[in-house]
């Protein structure tokens, strides 16, 4: 069960490209909201962007008004498809910059953490694209992604651990039952049981807080990543957070690389 850094980088690149392709296609489906009579019309957003650093502000003025922004989304689809289907990795710097521009278009983020994770992935994967696929560049990119994925779970878990409503199960019940998609009766009845809600709440907190253990060994890592897939799958079903599923899974090969590295270092 030993993967090379190049294999894991390639896996992370293709999964990241899939995540970015899906995001871009979703925005293209609702492109009317960016039009001059749409909700996110550029005329309303432009004044805020003047405070950005000059280069970025100029880039925004060129690429974020209506027809150009749709073209940018189209180009992102092409670039992501090139990585996904042909393994072409030289487009990562473009995907990274366009991801940041997309977040600026939404005044910071449109989809919270999944936008940040997309920036983490695209920026890290730009390193081997810019500096060559040397062992050092590959390890640096994978380690950066692995550390950020680990932090994302550990910080979220520790922040929850502080809250009494997470420790007594109320928070999990609240977030699931207030889903805009509605909740099946069986799930609702299950969450009404305080002991079960508490156990499920603690399961989420424990999974997130203990995520750093994934670095101990590739086998432990695989087990933890399987739990992660289940966790994000439940989030898609309950809360419709599909972008989190793809963005986080794209970072999983980097964790395998991290655990492999720790195994090698520990002899």
């Amino acid at each position: 069960m030993a993967w090379t850094g190049t294999e894991l980088l390639s896996a992370s690149e293709r999964l990241s490209a899939l995540a970015l392709l899906l995001q871009s296609l979703e925005w293209l489906q609702v492109r009317g909201v960016f039009a001059d009579n749409g909700v996110w019309r550029y005329a309303l957003l432009a004044p805020e962007q003047r405070v950005l650093p000059v280069g970025l502000s100029l880039l925004c003025r060129v690429s974020l008004p209506y027809p150009s922004f749709v073209a940018l989304l189209g180009l992102r689809c092409v670039a992501a498809a090139l990585v996904l289907f042909l393994g072409e990795s030289r487009v990562w710097p473009f995907l990274c910059i366009s991801q940041i521009l997309l977040c600026v278009r939404f005044r910071g983020a449109s989809n919270g953490g999944s936008d940040s994770m997309s920036v983490v992935l695209a920026s890290a994967l730009s390193v081997p694209a810019l500096f060559g696929r040397t062992p050092l560049a590959i390890q640096a990119a994978l380690l950066y992604i692995g550390v950020q994925v680990t932090l994302s779970y550990a910080i979220a878990g520790l922040a929850k651990l502080r809250q009494p409503e997470w420790r007594d199960g109320q928070a999990l019940r609240h977030f699931v039952l207030s889903s805009p998609y509605g909740v099946p009766d069986l799930v609702r009845r299950m969450l009404e049981l305080p002991a079960l809600a508490r156990a499920l709440g603690w399961s989420v907190v424990a999974f997130e807080c203990l995520f750093p253990l994934a670095w101990l060994d590739p086998r432990v890592c695989l087990a933890w990543l399987s739990c992660g897939v289940l966790f994000h799958t439940a989030n898609v079903l309950a809360l419709g957070l599909n972008r989190f599923l793809w963005a986080w899974i794209a970072g999983y090969p980097a964790l395998l690389a991290g655990s492999e590295l720790v195994r090698v270092l520990s002899g």
Partner: protein, 163 residues
């Protein structure tokens, strides 16, 4: 060696725990806010908080107000939502727009010039778009408000605007 690694992990986790005990600070300054995607906080669903809900109403030519209507319709669950879920993610983006406005309302400095705020204008555009999609003409007036999503208690009401 595994013990040393476990010890390191434990120490790092302790440091993180001490860091997350600090109160969460909102990013101030437009430049930082616009680039907050590059400074992730990694804190999700941390605490139960009132979720603001956007509602609007029409006021006819005689000044009689109609009923308050929920502006954002929750998206539908569908089989393809695993991959492409444009309506669901657009709904989340609209909701975060509403939450941004609610956050600005809590800041007295921003509250004083609210009608000039970008969040206010974007939410206003959202209400107008919904009115347009409901076939509302250009006659009459409208108003929107934020309510507590759980208790329906009004949090804030906008001035009346002409259609």
């Amino acid at each position: 060696m595994p013990l040393a690694m476990l010890g390191t992990l434990f120490a790092l986790t302790l440091v993180l725990f001490l860091l997350v005990r600090r109160p969460r600070h909102e990013l101030r300054g437009t430049s930082l806010t616009l680039l907050r995607c590059v400074l992730p906080s990694w804190r999700f669903f941390e605490e139960i908080a009132a979720v603001p809900t956007l509602t609007h109403r029409l006021i006819d030519a005689h000044g009689a107000p109609g009923p308050w209507l929920q502006t954002l319709a929750p998206p539908r669950r569908h089989a393809a939502m695993w991959g492409l879920h444009a309506a669901g993610n657009l709904y989340l983006a609209y909701q975060s727009l509403v939450e941004q406005l609610a956050a600005e309302l809590e800041d007295p400095a921003e509250f004083s010039e609210l009608s000039r705020s970008v969040s206010y204008q974007l939410v206003q555009a959202l209400v107008l778009q919904q009115l347009g999609s409901q076939g509302q003409g250009k006659v009459g007036q409208y108003q929107f408000r934020l309510i507590d999503g759980q208790t329906d208690a009004p949090l804030w009401v906008s001035p009346v605007h002409a259609l």
